[in-house]
Symmetry: C2
Subunit: 327 residues, 2 copies
């Protein structure tokens, strides 16, 4: 939920002048997206999203994000397409911020994902992994295993305020993950933030994937691990095996996982939970109240960490291995 | 800026079932409206606003608000129109809240109003006052002069936290206004909240008035006084006489003010400034940070109160009286 920057009609009109999208009819700040300011614009030619990139996004990364959306859309994955100005440029500046116009995708994100949604998101994650192979840019994962300790160090001293003993518990997890983090698994472009509010459906059909602003190059199976955390837990903290099975079989129907990926999945799921726990904990402790950032409860992800710690094999998530795969 | 309540697609579809607005394609929480949750919906038949009325709105008032919009739209004033269900009903319930579907108006509200905007808003206020005469419901102004002292009593003890001496200053204003508040002036339906973010323009043309959730029966000239405060001050706190002149002449081109209204205008403008000062002060002191309510600075309106206190006649706002009017 975020509109950090408001804009005047005059500055918006000046910004839109080089675009071929017709006369501006309205623009409304929308309560979606956590990191940026988003407006839903109506013009004579249809609906568009205007995104102003706020300070948490490194502007050097924007050509990667926008280029990736374009590459994926060309590969047939339904995602928003950056709109080119007449001079070919896709990235401008508005209200002192980098800004882009993106096509609007109809569809609704599932507030209560079903196993059918999970199957579709599994499929689209795999399609994204395969489609990303032809993309010629790359971006390191700024929130990978190596980034967790510096992030943790900014919260560690105050972690026990949130729950007594938390500091020691997270420290132990972090050491375990740093020592055992898998290496050499299949990797490429991943979405890295494929939460339900980033996946739209029209009826049962997946109509689009949005918000590529954490996309990066990392292990494919880590992306699957992010999805398991984001889609397959119930509100009471229980892992829903039916959803896990649907998500993983959807994924495997497009890209079968290797034996090494399957073996690493519990460790990756544990790490993915820690990654979201750490950013949430940081915001919880450091972002002032009323700063128009929705602070999500870090404890939700602590519960997931505790769950993954005790998983013996990926079969417990619902992974069914076909056996022979090992590429 | 307000989305207090999120809704699932399933409950929204069930809510929309009795409407003839076509298949739902998307819905986005929008950052407009202070008191309610608003969603911009796209359906096969176009764009609509879905409003969920939150607890600050008395549901007994909703038939007045929705009926008024319908009445005004029929009179030719461009305002959103509540959409009827097949059974004729306009007010339903969604997520435990009263909810209505309203037609979507294209247009943009002026972040930096010009004298031309002020003239148009003056005209539309007068049109609204004339059009409201045929409306068969009425609603007392819940924030009229008699409501100010009870409101003030909830903030008075802590007012000096905001500025030393504030308590005594407001107390004196309140007494003066209570003693001298005009009576017997022309009255009828007023908007009572005609701020720039409630008035849309397409180019130079006023394309709509929205947000009738403070509308009530009160003095017409009080509505003009609200507009003077909302439209004619610059960011540095200076009153812009050119804008005042434009607003008042726009108003008078549709409905000339009476001599008694002209005489009362400084008192009404002072009172209107106090009314917005008091609600802002209350929120400032009582609404917790991070409650997703944008708390507006009450001191802006304190400056306006100080300005109006020293106004001798409505001519100082830019009012040009034609002389003979006295009906």
């Amino acid at each position: 939920m975020a509109v950090y920057t408001d804009i005047t009609e005059a500055e918006l009109r000046a910004f839109l002048e080089p675009y071929d999208i017709g006369e501006l009819l309205s623009y409304k700040g929308i309560a979606e997206g956590v990191e940026n300011s988003n407006f839903l614009m109506h013009t004579e030619k249809g609906s568009f999203i205007l995104t102003l990139y706020e300070k948490r996004v490194d502007r050097n990364d924007l050509p990667f994000f926008l280029g990736l959306m374009e590459h994926l859309a060309e590969s047939g994955l339904t995602c928003p397409l950056p709109v080119h100005r007449r001079d070919g440029i896709v990235l401008g500046e508005l209200a002192g911020r980098p800004a882009a116009v993106i096509t609007f995708l109809e569809g609704m994100w599932p507030r209560r994902p079903t196993p059918d949604h999970c199957r579709e998101v599994g499929k689209v994650a795999a399609m994204l992994h395969l489609s990303g192979r032809g993309f010629d840019r790359s971006r390191k994962n700024a929130l990978s295993v190596r980034a967790w300790r510096p992030l943790w160090n900014q919260s560690a001293a105050r972690a026990d305020e949130v729950e007594p003993g938390l500091s020691r518990e997270v420290e132990a997890d972090l050491e375990r993950l740093e020592e055992n983090w898998p290496d050499g698994l299949p990797s490429g472009v991943i979405h890295a933030d494929l939460f339900p509010d980033n996946v739209f459906f029209l009826g049962e059909t997946l109509s689009g994937v949005i918000d590529f602003y954490f996309a990066c190059n990392d292990l494919f199976a880590y992306d699957v691990a992010v999805c398991l955390n984001a889609w397959c837990f119930e509100r009471d903290g229980a892992f829903n095996m039916t959803k896990g099975l649907a998500l993983l079989s959807g994924y495997q129907s497009v890209r079968p996982v290797t034996a090494a990926e399957a073996e690493a999945l519990p460790m990756l799921a544990h790490g993915a939970a820690l990654r979201f726990f750490l950013t949430r904990l940081y915001d919880w402790l450091n972002v002032p109240d009323g700063a128009m950032v929705v602070k999500k409860d870090p404890m939700e992800y602590l519960r997931y960490m505790r769950f993954h710690r005790n998983i013996g094999s990926a079969a417990e998530y619902g992974l069914r291995q076909s056996g022979a795969e090992s590429h």
